[in-house]
Each structure stands twice: as structure tokens, then as C-alpha cells.
């Protein structure tokens, strides 16, 4: 395996890791609650990228919608639909979590009038 082939074979995974780490960093290091949520979003999207990468097929495979009249369907011609299905579910989960987190942020803001974690955690910050 040449270097180039190796890189082409893996670079998608590397990008997913980079994105995931960006999100991960935001989730644990950022002080602003909304930024944490943004990080969470990036994190989850990166995972979706990873799953989609698993399912992809090179060499002429097409989207998994079976052409009418195709009698003997050859699986190699179509992209693997299973990761897509899983990721549809994951997206829904993602947006649900996002909505809930936003609702929580609203609640927190109502109580503390700020979204900075260190200000919230100060004793007596409640209004």
C-alpha cells in the first residue's frame, strides 16, 4: 500500500476525529453554556460523518434507491443504507437533545441572568 492510497483510505476518518475533538474540547473547556451546546452539536455531527463514512462504497455505487426494473439487484451497486438509517435516528436524537438543552439554557438564564458557567457557580448568583 502506498502512502497516497493509505491517506486516501483514511483521511475521512481523520477529519471526523479532528471535528469530534473540536466539539469535545468545546464541551469540556468552554465556560459559556451555549458554546458547550455548539460543541455538542459539532461532536454529534462528527459522529454522523463517521457513520456515513463507514457505509460509503467507492467504485460506481449509487444512492440506495433501487431502480425500477432491476431484476437481480447487486448489492455492490448501491450504497449501504443501514448506517444512514442509524444516523437518521441519531440526528433526531441530536435535535431533541439540542432542544432540551436550549430549554434548560432558558431556564438557567431566567434564574441567573447570565450564561457564563463561572458566574452561575458563584455563591449567591441566583436572582
Amino acid at each position: 500500500m502506498t502512502n497516497m492510497e493509505f491517506i486516501i483510505g483514511k483521511y475521512n476518518y481523520w477529519i471526523y476525529i479532528v471535528l469530534m475533538m473540536i466539539g469535545f474540547y468545546a464541551m469540556i473547556a468552554k465556560r459559556n453554556l451555549v458554546k458547550k451546546i455548539v460543541g455538542m452539536n459539532i461532536f454529534q455531527t462528527a459522529i454522523i460523518l463517521f457513520f456515513v463514512s463507514i457505509g460509503s462504497k467507492k467504485g460506481g455505487a449509487t444512492i440506495p434507491i433501487i431502480r425500477a426494473g432491476d431484476e437481480a439487484v447487486n448489492a455492490a451497486q448501491y450504497i449501504n443504507p443501514l448506517p444512514h438509517v442509524l444516523m437518521l435516528t441519531a440526528i433526531v436524537v441530536m435535535v431533541s437533545t439540542f432542544g432540551v438543552a436550549m430549554a434548560l439554557i432558558l431556564m438557567i438564564y431566567r434564574k441567573y441572568r447570565t450564561l457564563e458557567e463561572d458566574e452561575i457557580l458563584k455563591p449567591g448568583a441566583e436572582t
Binding site: 481523520w14 469530534m20 448489492a75
Partner: protein, 91 residues
């Protein structure tokens, strides 16, 4: 804190990249992920569910229960938001 987080992230990332060396290549048609379970969905979706879009047939039929769960997740999210944000307590 930030430095610690950065270090943790870099270390995790490095470990993950290391693990990619054993992965099947991107887009490999014969990788286990593409060869074990999924061919049946593609080959049989028309015969078994009369639905050309394999994603739809897997989503709503083969793995329909996942989708029921998914719908429940979003249902939960809605009820949660209503409960959390609702300031009125009457009605």
C-alpha cells in the same frame, strides 16, 4: 483547566487516529460493514417490502422499532420543553 482539556483532547485524538490504522479503507465495498447484514436490505427491499428506497424500508420496516424509539425520543423532547418552559401553571 483549558490546558488540561486541551491535553485530554489531543491524547484522545491521538489514540483514535492510531486506531484508524486497523480500519477498513474508506469506501471499501467488501468491508464487513458493507458485506454482512446490509446486502439483504438492498437486494430484498423490493421483493419484501415493495419500497424501492432502501433507507425508507430499513427505517420503517426492518428496523421499525428503532424508528418508533426515535419518534418517542422526539416526543419526549417536546413534552420536556413544554414542562420546563411552561410558566403558567393553571389551565
Amino acid at each position: 483547566m483549558k490546558l488540561f482539556a486541551f491535553l485530554a483532547v489531543v491524547l484522545t485524538g491521538a489514540a483514535l487516529i492510531y486506531s484508524t490504522f486497523d480500519m477498513p479503507d474508506w469506501g471499501d465495498t467488501t468491508s464487513p460493514a458493507n458485506a454482512h447484514v446490509s446486502p439483504r436490505y438492498i437486494e430484498q427491499t423490493l421483493n419484501e417490502t415493495a419500497t424501492p428506497n432502501a433507507v425508507t424500508s430499513v427505517l420503517a420496516d426492518y428496523r421499525g422499532f428503532d424508528t418508533l424509539g426515535e419518534t418517542t425520543v422526539i416526543f419526549t423532547a417536546a413534552i420536556v420543553c413544554i414542562m420546563l418552559l411552561r410558566t403558567r401553571t393553571d389551565d
